[in-house]
């Protein structure tokens, strides 16, 4: 994939594989293509070239309905999470449940899931009035609410401020139920020490495996 500013390739034969239940990080400087990679893996954008295999499914061979089913296994949060601005935090958090056809008692489930968390006081606030860190918090919680097999977070965890510890706890809980978690950021997040077992550096269009950073053995191969 050529760089938009003509500086060589943005992504060049990028291929990686993460085993289920692994917490991984992909790091690299600003503008190196992390968010592009995130948008491809999170099934927001598709490359006309290359092959994308997510959760064992080759996207080239899937029709719209199959992609929709695959998306139900993925929870993602971008650097600036897209929220429905005029709707409340509770309504935004309910969207993944609604999309997955789990509509019965949806608001009760949302309220129950955020009980005694920093999100609880924000439930009635329209999304358009959230501060950046609150917005990120809501975005990450929304990615986790349906307990997906694959959790993708772009923008690291540093900008979460006071909510960082709470989010790491939530990611730990997801990790305990064997979810695969990939965090895209500029630098390795220290708050994920002890959780993260695989990491890559993206630079000059190439992914370079960093040495093992955690206690778990991770297998790194594959395609993206």
């Amino acid at each position: 994939m050529p760089h938009p500013r003509g500086e060589g390739a943005l992504l060049d034969d990028v291929s990686f594989q993460i085993e289920q239940g692994t917490v991984a990080q992909i790091v690299g400087p600003t503008g190196v293509g992390k968010s592009v990679l995130f948008s491809i893996v999170s099934l927001r954008r598709a490359s006309p070239t290359g092959r994308l295999v997510v959760a064992g499914r080759n996207l080239d061979r899937l029709d719209d309905s199959a992609v929709a089913m695959l998306r139900r296994n993925v929870g993602s949060c971008g650097q600036t999470p897209q929220l429905v601005e005029e709707e409340s935090v509770a309504e935004n958090l309910a969207l993944p449940l609604v999309a997955r056809d789990r509509r019965a008692g949806v608001f009760e489930r949302v309220v129950e899931s955020v009980a005694e968390t920093p999100i609880e006081p924000l439930l009635e606030v329209p999304a358009g009035r959230l501060a950046h860190a609150e917005r990120r918090l809501v975005g990450i919680w929304r990615a986790l609410i349906c307990e997906p097999d694959l959790v993708l977070i772009d923008g690291g965890l540093e900008d979460l401020g006071a909510f960082q510890e709470f989010v790491v706890e939530a990611l730990s809980a997801a990790h305990r139920r064997e979810a695969t978690i990939v965090v895209f950021g500029r630098t390795l997040s220290g708050s994920l020490d002890g959780l993260c077992s695989a990491s890559w550096r993206l630079d000059a269009g190439r992914l370079e495996r960093l040495e093992e950073v955690g206690p778990m053995e991770a297998s790194v191969e594959g395609a993206a």
Binding site: P4, V36, L43, A46, P48, E85, A99
Partner: protein, 302 residues
């Protein structure tokens, strides 16, 4: 919480837009149905007029029935003609007797031998095909076996010509009105979808089935069409009642038993939702566009 906002919420939030879209659709439904109503009330008068102005080809008195039959078969092969009927002298006498009365016939001393075989020509398409048929039939007068051709007078041809243009213009207006209704409703549904773009993209991202997302425009189109159809039916019924009150002779007392009038009155109830579905389908085609960004990546949530 539903996949899409409820119809009540959507319509309440964009009340003026919804009312305008439904109003345009009511108008679009009223134009052709009012025309059909007028047509069904005047069809008998029009048919009588057309029957009276069918061309008749009179053969020479010396010609036999076989010649008349051959001529009728030839005329029937013309594209503008649906049927060419041979009228025997006996039948011609009976028709004349019906019009003049036996007493007058006896006074005039008319008998079968005085009346030739004739061919009565009927058009393939009433009114619209009448003029073409008249022109073709007139040319038969030069034939040796033909004595005379009775075609409508100049004024009748003018009237038919005018009626033809009125019908064509009416059909054009009716088509235009329906097309306008569909187009306006499609725009309304697309605007609604655009106002919910963020929500739609997020639902898609979280795995909502594509057909469920597309169903919103169809459901809203169907609902708007059904409401517009109901209003148009009521408006037509009121219009008919007002006409009957003002001109009972024009409408005719037997209109309550007319299948054509009842079908026309009830047509918007079926056509309205159908137009709504078509508009919803067209809106979905506009909404579900695939965009490619500057990196040539395809937007999978579009």
């Amino acid at each position: 919480m539903a996949l899409q906002r409820s119809l009540r919420t959507v319509f309440r939030e964009g009340r003026s837009e919804t009312v305008t879209a439904a109003g345009v659709l009511v108008f679009a439904l009223l134009v052709p149905t009012t025309m059909a109503l007028v047509a069904s009330m005047t069809i008998e008068v029009a048919s009588g007029y057309l029957d009276a102005h069918r061309p008749v080809v009179y053969l020479e008195a010396t010609e036999e029935g076989e010649r008349a039959k051959a001529l009728a078969e030839e005329i029937e092969s013309w594209r503008a003609v649906s049927r060419a009927r041979v009228r025997t002298p006996a039948r011609a006498r009976a028709d004349l007797s019906e019009r003049l009365g036996e007493e007058e016939m006896a006074r005039l001393g008319v008998d079968d031998s005085m009346l030739p075989y004739s061919v009565i020509v009927e058009p393939a398409v009433p009114v619209l095909g009448h003029l073409d048929m008249v022109a073709e039939t007139s040319a038969l007068e030069v034939r040796s076996e033909v004595d005379t051709v009775d075609v409508p007078s100049g004024r009748a041809v003018e009237a038919l010509s005018f009626a033809r243009w009125v019908l064509l213009f009416g059909a054009l207006v009716a088509f235009g009105a329906v097309a306008m209704g569909i187009s306006h409703l499609r725009h309304y549904l697309v605007r609604l979808a655009e106002s919910e773009e963020e929500r739609r993209r997020l639902l898609t991202l979280f795995g909502a089935p594509p057909e469920a997302v597309a169903r919103a425009a169809l459901r809203r189109g169907l609902a708007t069409g059904a409401v517009a159809g109901g209003v148009a039916t009521v408006a037509l019924a009121v219009l008919l009642a007002l006409w009957y009150g003002a001109h009972p002779d024009l409408v005719g007392a037997e209109f309550r038993g007319s299948t054509a009038i009842w079908l026309t009155l009830l047509a918007p109830l079926g056509v309205g939702p159908l137009i709504g579905l078509v508009a919803g389908w067209l809106a979905n085609r506009t909404i579900r566009r695939t965009e490619v960004d500057e990196l040539e990546l395809r937007d999978m949530l579009g």
